[in-house]
Symmetry: C2
């Protein structure tokens, strides 16, 4: 059985949902950020970056959300979570997961984890001040240029959907009204209806 390491309210939720959607055989293990468990020697031996998610498989550890999502799709072909036999369509999926991890997630992180990039308290405030604009810009790109509907990639639900859902949920903390992006807002509400989403969220924090 695989072991999936997560912390609530992090991007790990995307992979957690994908594992549920795929019906994968895994055990979810919570890492306690409040006690800095992600920096404990035990956890650093699993993920030397001190972050979640991490998926421990029979062959070794996979870290980073886009890598885990693609792995879940490829190892559970019956769940059809990505167009794994069509390199171009798969690349379109990966264009979005890469954008979410490299641009949108860091745009959000500057509000709550600015100390990654600067030590001066005034700088942290300056970063925080720009988060709403950056998240708005990023979500406008997603809403207007990439979201096809009803799911992100079109008719088929894919690994992109739980990832967008996970980051969409952060907009509230970023003081950005999700309703400025009507198609993504609708997607967010529909995602909450999926049993896999409800189960992963309940496992992480008991509510949605």
């Amino acid at each position: 059985m695989m072991k999936f390491y997560y912390a609530p309210y992090t991007c790990a939720l995307a992979s957690h949902i994908a594992l549920e959607e795929a019906g994968a055989d895994y055990e979810a293990i919570r890492i306690d950020f409040k006690s800095a468990q992600q920096l404990s020697p035990d956890y650093l031996s699993i993920n030397p970056k001190g972050r979640v998610p991490a998926l421990v498989t029979g062959r070794g550890v996979i870290t980073e959300t886009p890598a885990i999502l693609a792995y879940v799709a490829q190892t559970n072909p019956g769940s059809e979570l990505a167009p794994i036999d069509d390199p171009f369509a798969f690349a379109e999926v990966q264009s979005i997961t890469s954008y979410l991890c490299s641009t949108v997630h860091p745009a959000h992180s500057h509000g709550i984890r600015g100390s990654r990039w600067a030590d001066d308290p005034a700088a942290l405030e300056a970063m925080k001040a720009k988060v709403p604009q950056n998240m708005t810009d990023n979500f406008n790109v997603l809403e207007n240029r990439y979201f096809r509907g009803p799911w992100v990639m079109g008719d088929k639900y894919t690994i992109v959907d739980p990832y967008l859902f996970t980051i969409s949920e952060w907009l509230k903390q970023d003081t950005v009204d999700i309703n400025k992006f009507p198609r993504i807002a609708d997607h967010f509400n529909r995602m909450k209806q999926r049993p896999a989403v409800a189960k992963a969220v309940a496992e992480e924090r008991g509510k949605i």
Copy 2:
């Protein structure tokens, strides 16, 4: 023929090298950042994010380095640039490309493009001050935990190698001595000997 949009000294070099390694049929087109061509309506119609790289294929556009790298590997199986038939080994590759795009590249960007995340000039200086430490931390993780040698993933050269090479080259600007990471420094020097690297670099800027 595919069109590959790049700007010199950006992460686009990684995909450019991969296209060369694969012997792909493409035309390289330079985007002039000095005149903000990446924000022109013509280019935004290709990549609404106003960034490079972008690869225009017969079926549409692929953006984001990890997505392009995987696509080049999957569509050129004979070049053996990734273990595309082994989902776990492929996930290990993608764990590194995701880490480079989501953590290491942004760590570098805070030195030269801090205005993405804050407007206050003092904040930009505070971000810049932390770049050497963050890049050192990230490269220590790569050197000590992920780099297998002689190539990043071990005996086989993969799409991860041009990506690491591209970001390794930025260490100088980040005032981090690459020789603090002996295996990566050796990798950097060996990469420069590869014809595909020399060709891509020459096409972008005429020298290495």
